[in-house]
Amino acid sequence: MDMTPFVDVAFLILTFFIMATKFKPEEPVEIKTPNSVSTRDLPEDDAIQVTFDSTGRVFFSVLSAKDPTIKYNVIKHINETRTLGLTEAEMKNFVRTPSVGVPFSGLKQLLAIPQEDQKNFKQPGIPLDTLGGELYYWIRDAVGTFSGKKLLFLIKGDNSAKYPSFKQVLNAFKKNEIFKFQMITMLEDAPAGSELAIIRNREKAASK
């Protein structure tokens, strides 16, 4: 039997998957984000992201794929303002670390571990209280480092996280005079017949 066409198609599919796949950076926790009808794309640059999981642990990350020096400057700034005493190697390690979820007191210990082995280290989350806790300082110093640039604030939460964790994260931002957020969600269609669906159909028709 001639399998050639079959194999051709198979390789075509393979090529498609290789092209379409984008590996997402490994995160210390798995987050199942909620769905929304929002169609805005997720930015990869010039953003800071706060993640909270179902148990309320909070993680912080700086997204600066194009320019890693920004991330380095953030940790350098924090190292100075919070007198953490991090070494140069530890700060370099922070740049490779996708996100951190430890109190300032445990940051040195976390960054002493090479990035590949960090997933075995149980991160307790950044301490929070109604006034923002340590997350307030993370945000403040990151914003200070980015100063002048347009910065986006991403919040990524788990479906089953409780509202108070979300509120505490919002409070930490609000304390920094930040009132505009982007919540990371998964796309779903606008329900048929709803006003949004009507508006979107109209826009689609107009663009044709």
């Binding site: 399998m3 050639t4 079959f6 194999v7 198979a10 390789f11 599919i13 393979l14 998957f17 290789i18 379409a20 796949t21 984000t33 909620p34 769905n35 929304s36 009808v37 929002s38 169609t39 805005r40 794309d41 997720l42 930015p43 909270f52 991403l154 939460g157 788990d158 479906n159 089953s160 996280a161 409780k162 509202y163 108070p164 964790s165 979300f166 509120k167 919002l170 931002f173 609000k174 009132f179 505009k180 957020f181 982007q182 919540m183 990371i184 969600t185 998964m186 796309l187 606008a190 329900p191 709803s194 006003e195 949004l196 508006i199 109209r202 826009e203």
Partner: protein, 212 residues
């Protein structure tokens, strides 16, 4: 199996006068390559997630003193409270002392409640000076904020009195919160706010939850 046959008797004519060239077989066994190809396909199919993440915008108000806050018209206010186990509580206007306008509902039917509320507000609409301004803004649009001109700008201010107040309980999940914010987008609600529960409402929710 799959193979490339290059050794076929190409353009040479075989005849009595033609000397037969000694042919080396150029057939290559492609089986291992194809096997590997399928292995990779399987790997990519399993690791690929097709849906790409999107983001949803949220604007929070600054915490200010009461006197600075926008006063909502009572007739146009709808309060949605999120409780435990995906239960939703709603009331219109002010909460009555006997809580007779306090209703228990679900995420499925809350959309109808919102749409009904919107209809009622539009029906009760009275045109005034502020309205003309809103209409004008909708007609022009705002390129800075990516708001295109609205062809239905005449209707833009009909629902200007409608304000939805979202109050998630401590037991509400993040998903509930996002879902209800999403409902605002779905029903094209322009004015909504997320605030904390009043103690009276908290008590009422607790009482209702205990009763069920």
């Amino acid at each position: 199996m799959a193979s490339i046959d290059e050794g076929g008797g190409g353009g040479h004519k075989k005849g009595p006068g033609v000397k037969k060239a000694k042919k080396l077989s150029t057939r290559v066994d492609m089986t291992p390559m194809v096997d590997l190809g399928f292995l990779l396909i399987t790997f990519f199919i399993f690791t690929t997630t097709m849906s790409s993440p999107t983001t949803m915008q949220l604007f929070m108000p600054k915490d200010t003193d009461d006197k600075d806050q926008n006063k909502a018209k009572e007739s146009g206010a709808l309060t949605i409270m999120l409780g435990k186990n995906n239960v939703v509580y709603v009331y219109r206007g002010q909460l009555l002392p006997d809580a007779s306008n306090f209703h228990t509902t679900t995420f499925k039917s809350v959309r109808d409640t919102i749409i009904q509320m919107k209809k009622d507000v539009i029906n009760a609409h009275v045109h005034d000076a502020g309205c003309t301004k809103i209409q004008e803004e909708a007609r022009v649009g705002n390129p800075k904020l990516n708001i295109p001109p609205d062809p239905n700008w005449k209707n833009a201010c009909l629902d200007k009195d409608l304000v939805i107040v979202i109050k998630p309980d401590d037991e509400a999940t993040y998903k509930n919160t996002i879902d209800i914010l999403d409902e605002m987008a779905i029903s094209a609600i322009k004015r909504y706010a997320m605030v904390d529960l009043f103690p009276a409402e908290k008590e009422l929710i607790k009482k209702t939850e205990g009763g069920n």
